[in-house]
Every structure is written in C-alpha cells, then in structure tokens.
C-alpha cells in the first residue's frame, strides 16, 4: 500500500457528510466532494438546485492526478506541499485543498460565488474533517472471507467472459 487507504463508515461517515452539507449551505457551491489521494470519491454532496454533475469518478481521478503532480512540483521547488489549487474559468471555479495526507476537498462553484467566503468555510470544514479522519488511523485493517472472492470471481466471469 503506497497511499493510506481510507475506510469511512458509520458515525464518522455521517459526520463527514454533515460537514459537507453545511459547507454546501454556507457557501452556495454546486458540488462538494471528498476524494482520496488515489482518486476515489469518499463522499459527495450537491446543491438541490444544481444540474446533474459531471462524472464524479473522472473528476476525482483528475483532481487526485493534478494534486499528485502539483505535490511533485512543490517538492522539486523545495516546498513540502502546495496545499491549495484554484482553477478559475469564465463561468465556474474548481477549488481543491488538502485534507491531511490522505484526502482532498474539492469544490465546484459558479464564478458569482465569492472565493473568499468559500475559502473561509472550506478551511473550517477541513479542520473538522481532518480531526475525524485522524480517529480512523487506529482502525484495524479489514478482510473478507473466501466466499467474497468466489462471488467476485463469478461476477468477473459474467463481465469479462
């Protein structure tokens, strides 16, 4: 395992979801994602008024790839990290900020939403989520029994012939 894997569940997951919900309401962003460094979506929330989001798998992968590349650049330039990325377009903004070593908070919003407000609330959310994720560090690794791989193999046969 190169990057830490996250297993969000139960109360922690619900609390993370609640923080994302509050962030959404306080800032007026369209979509709010917590993505792990491997590029998988851990949790996401979207505003009720927002149109259907783009493929979240793809967004998460590109955000994580971008963060990894930016991190490598930071190291080459003698920085430990560039924790924040902002991409501003004509109509919208993509804002990504590190949540500790294991995750990335990704916000997508209209240009009319004040960036300063988003940053202030995002930092509060990140502090809260970082604390929650720390509580997961001591959770023992999980494993599945043999029947899991048997069931999975059957599905693989169906999918790939």
């Amino acid at each position: 395992m190169i990057e830490p894997s996250l297993a969000l569940y139960g109360e922690t997951f619900e609390k993370v979801e609640q923080h994302l919900e509050e962030l959404l309401a306080a800032t007026g962003v369209r979509y709010c994602l917590l993505v792990d460094r491997k590029g998988f979506v851990l949790s996401h929330k979207e505003a009720l008024w927002a149109p259907r989001p783009p493929a979240l798998d793809s967004v998460a992968t590109l955000v994580a790839g971008n963060a990894a590349a930016t991190g490598a650049l930071a190291n080459m330039l003698g920085e430990s990290t560039f924790s924040e990325q902002i991409h501003q377009g004509e109509k919208g903004v993509l804002y990504v900020e590190s949540v500790g070593d294991s995750a990335l908070l990704t916000l997508i919003f209209d240009s009319s939403v004040p960036l300063g407000r988003v940053k202030v609330y995002a930092k509060k959310t990140i502090t809260a989520i970082t604390g929650l994720l720390k509580t997961l560090q001591d959770v023992p690794a999980v494993s599945f029994d043999q029947s899991f791989s048997v069931s999975a193999s059957a599905l693989l046969d169906d999918l790939l012939g």
Partner: protein, 196 residues
C-alpha cells in the same frame, strides 16, 4: 490495499497497465472501453499528446457489480511508456492494487521491455513497495507481429525466475485483453479475502 468505503458500501481497486512505450497499454484500455456494456463503465479519459502518446495517463472506470452488498469498482490506468515521462509514471503508481505489465513482442523492443520492468521495480521501491507483494500479470502483447519473439525469450529478460502469470495478447485485435484483465482482477480481489 483497496479503498473500502463501508458507509457507501463500496470497494475500489486500482489497476495500472505498465510497460514500454508503444507496447499497447492504451490499446488494451480502448478495447475494454468498446466492448464492455455502457452501463458498466464510465467515460475513458486520455491525457495524450497530439500524436496519441500518453502524456500523463489514460483512465477507465469499470463497475463489477455488487459483491456481498459491496459495490465493487475497478479503476484502470495506463502510464506513459516513454522513458522521459518517469515523473508521471511514479505518480500513477500511487495506491496501486494490481499491475498488468504489457510487454512488446517485437525483436527490437526486448531491451525496452527489460528496462521498463527495471523502472517499475525502482519506482515501486521508491514508494517502499516490493514488486513481489503486488498482484501482477505479464501480458506478452503483439503476438500477431511478424517475427514476434518466443514468449520464453521475453520472459527470460523480464521475469527470469518465472514468477509471474503470463497471458498472450494481440490487443489491437482484442485477443487476450479480457483474459488479462480478468486474471489481474481476480488476484486483486482474492487478496481482499486473505488475512493480512
């Protein structure tokens, strides 16, 4: 290990296609993309140069379906094969759960195969990973090529101890592509069932 999200009941596995430039990594993914039903896969993303060389990575998400109540998903990636893109290759290996090493059967690519395998070993080591601990398949591609080298000759330079499972393929015809993906996927999923 794979990312397991209990609350959303998801298991996510990352499989990386590695190998020398032009060995057929992207072709493998393109074949999967065209043959898997649309409701079981997402869009394929290719970050490539104008001449279709992979610049950063190709990406294809695949849904296996629900296993014991867990939605199981594979993310397939390719790395750029060209020697000078090593910084990008290293990044793609982050969090890898399984590897398909795509070797080229052309006689003039034997050395490139060996160098790419050495590069893979070095890049994994930089992340503190031993290549022997990761589920990996050796796909010998371009078997339809005129003058294709014997499989054993290619294995001798890439995997001299004969430790890897081998599949033969002609990815541009689709031959061996699914067989390879299935083999590596099974290895990754079996690992989830093994006590750590």
């Amino acid at each position: 290990m794979s990312t397991i999200n209990f609350a959303a009941r998801e298991i996510n596995c990352k499989i990386v296609y590695y190998g020398p430039g032009m060995s057929g990594k992207t072709t493998n993914l393109k074949h999967v993309f065209t043959k898997v039903p649309t409701h079981l896969r997402g869009e394929m993303i290719s970050l490539a140069t104008e001449d279709e060389r992979t610049l950063f990575f190709d990406f294809l998400p695949l849904d296996l379906g629900s296993v014991q109540g867990f939605k199981t998903r594979f993310h397939l990636y390719t790395v750029p094969g060209q020697v000078f893109y090593n910084a990008s290759r290293k990044l793609i290996l982050r969090g890898v759960d399984g590897i398909v090493f795509v070797a080229d059967s052309a006689p003039n690519r034997l050395r490139a195969n060996a160098e790419s395998m050495r590069n893979l070993r070095e890049n994994l080591l930089e992340h503190g990973l031993d290549i022997k601990t990761i589920p990996m398949i050796l796909q010998i591609n371009k078997r339809d090529l005129e003058g294709a080298l014997p499989v054993e000759m290619i294995r001798a330079v890439i995997d001299p101890k004969g430790e890897l499972l081998i599949t033969e393929a002609s990815a541009h015809e689709g031959r061996g592509v699914f067989e390879t993906l299935k083999a590596v996927s099974k290895m990754v999923l079996e690992r989830l069932s093994q006590p750590t």
